[in-house]
């Protein structure tokens, strides 16, 4: 316990990070991310809830990137494999996300097609790209202001969970349509991969320390 404390203080001494003006960190204050208690940033634990105090998340960008890369890898099978297999009278018809969208467009259900397309393709891709760009933006100057970047991040974090709508639809259909022998719907491998994509992007968004935007923007 004792050794660990000294180790932490040693590293913080070594790094000598200068935080931007106007940030809490520049005033030597950190916000407990468990109970939101403001505490002196030299403390390792929150004086109220004993949660770990971080001025900034350690390796935030790296972790975010790692989750995003994993999500992107998983996004390939999520689209390549069938998300569900409809079996009607022994005639199995597997359908991928894209083929589902095309099917609804062919049938004239443009609204449903739009919802599926937005929730399953547009949002996950947009979210992954935005987070990637945010990671990049913390280290480089961008045309967007820090406030705009923050709003973008919040919007991304908010909208990300709606991608799960696809998984819910599949889950409900699988549970409802089980007329043995006549018709049944089985979830495909893509459903699992897609669920993982959504979860991983959510974790990635969570791991991203929004405060980093404020640091680097101010520096230059």
């Amino acid at each position: 316990m004792h050794a660990e404390e000294s180790k932490v203080s040693a590293t913080s001494q070594q790094k000598q990070i200068v935080y931007a003006k106007g940030t809490a960190a520049s005033h030597g204050i950190a916000n407990c991310h468990v109970c939101n208690q403001l505490a002196v940033s030299s403390l390792s634990y929150c004086p109220r809830c004993k949660g770990r105090l971080h001025v900034r998340y350690a390796n935030s960008i790296q972790q975010t990137l790692a989750f995003i890369v994993t999500a992107m890898l998983l996004y390939i099978p999520a689209n390549a494999y069938p998300i569900m297999t409809t079996t009607l009278l022994g005639d199995a018809a597997p359908s991928t996300i894209i083929s589902g969208v095309i099917l609804f467009i062919d049938h004239g259900s443009y609204f449903v097609a739009f919802v599926i397309f937005t929730a399953s393709i547009l949002i996950p891709i947009a979210k992954m790209l935005i987070i990637l760009w945010l990671c990049y933006a913390t280290s480089k100057n961008t045309r967007l202001s820090k406030l705009e970047l923050t709003r973008l991040y919040r919007a991304t974090e908010f909208i990300g969970k709606w991608s799960m709508i696809d998984i819910f639809v599949v889950a409900i259909l699988v549970a409802l349509v089980q007329v043995t022998g006549l018709m049944s719907i089985e979830p495909g491998l893509a459903a699992r991969a897609f669920a993982m994509v959504v979860i991983l992007t959510m974790i990635a968004a969570h791991q991203f320390d929004v405060r980093l935007i404020w640091d680097r923007q101010q520096q230059s």
């Binding site: 050794a3 000294s6 180790k7 040693a10 590293t11 070594q14 390796n59 790296q62 972790q63 790692a66 989750f67 890369v69 994993t70 890898l73 998983l74 390939i76 099978p77 009278l89 022994g90 005639d91 018809a93």
Partner: protein, 540 residues
Amino acid sequence: MNDDQADTIARPILETKSRFSVIWLLPFIAFIIGMGMVYHQWQNRGIEIVLVFENAEGLEAKKTKVKFRNVDIGTLKSIRFSEDGANVDAVVEIDHDMQRFLQADSQFWVVRPRIGSSGVSGFGTLLSGAYITVEPGKSPYSAERFVGLETPPISSPTDAGIKLNLLSSGGKSLQEGNPVIYRGFEVGAIETVEFDVESRRVSYGIFIRAPFDSLITTNTHFWNSGGFSVTANSAGLTVDFASLESFISGGVQFDIPEDLELGQAVVESRNFTLYPNKNAITEDRTYEYLEYVILVEDSVGGLEIDAPVEYRGIRIGRVHRPYLGFHQTNLISPDENRIAVVIHVEPKRITQNDDYSKEWFDEQFRGWIKTGLAASLVTANYITGALKVSLDMTNDAVEEIEYFGNYTVIPSAKSGFASILEKTDQLLSKLNNLPLDELAQSTNQAILSANTAMISANDTVLATQSVLESVDATLAEARRSLEGLQTDSPIYQKLENNLDELERTLNMMQPFLQEIRRKPNSLIFSDSPPPDEQPKGKNP
């Protein structure tokens, strides 16, 4: 020492923090798994083959399955036109472990609902859609391009059996799938039907299942059993057809004619003749033959090719050519007024014994011709006016055998037509000579006498009536007399007593009568009594 110790205790252990977070393991694992899946997919990628069909009815890309015994072995990937546009190429992906179905002689066809004379098949595909099925071959080579069959094959290359060709020039055509029947038992089917334009014959490819293939020998004869045949003979009228299916759509039957031996086993794809009916086998079978010529003075109208040549009604051959062409003989000329009819005498029709060779028969025929064998044209069918050649022995022996070109000539007897004319003439003159007037007169007399006979018969009937009346009276009297013989009447009782007495007397006389029967002379000579019987035993 102390300072050193304090230093070591107080000094913090400095570690440079790894620049990389452990979390990078996550995408790494995901990448490894992803690569593993790609490799697995690549490993299990199917074998792409092309099936050529005439049309793609019922086929759906990415949905239609390829099945063997209802187990999926592949999927139809895409359908496109073949290069020449005449066919449809179905690109099929067969699972990688199903390579064994892709022999060069494997057969592919589309299973669709079918209704044929042999029943309904593929009914399940009405709901689930058509699928492609395969019958694996046994060729050691594999192929990537197959010509799909339009109809399910009758036999698969792995089926044991024999394939034969039947050549038919007959009119009744058969269809693929029609049964091959042996004594009422279905043993195979017609696989292919082809019309050979060059030989103007239909060639049927048939398949006979094992073990029935051993029934086929060199002496087997096939006939078309389509429809039904009506036979009238001394046993009555017989209507015969092989099976209901063959009755409707036709079929092939085969058997070995009774007069032939079993013959040897045959090899695959042997050609056989398909006879139009069973009778045609004995009639049209090809035999070894001897060629003779008959020189006919009358008309040969009605004499056709293959008309029978008979010896006293026994068929021994056929007419080969009703007349020789103008180039072979001077047909129309005042010098030669005889028409040369070429006949084939086929000795094998009357004997199967090989001891009697063709040459032997030829020698015999020459002898018979010398002793008076003669031919004549007689009417075979009075309705159609068809003629046949009839051979018979006549008393007109010939000294020298005549030759006509290379042919031996059988002398012609008086032709049937001429003899008929003669006979008709005789008949007419006989009719003319009949004393018809006298006949009419005597008939008249006979009728008159019959009339008188009738009248007298009438008298007889009247007399009979009076006789009957007196019989009636007599019977009444008899009834009265019999009434006196009732059981309670004195006459009856007396009669009974007398009868009893008579019976007793007869009983008493019985031994006496027996004695007389045994020894009639005992009435005169008294019989000496038999000696007493002495008990037998040892003398004391």
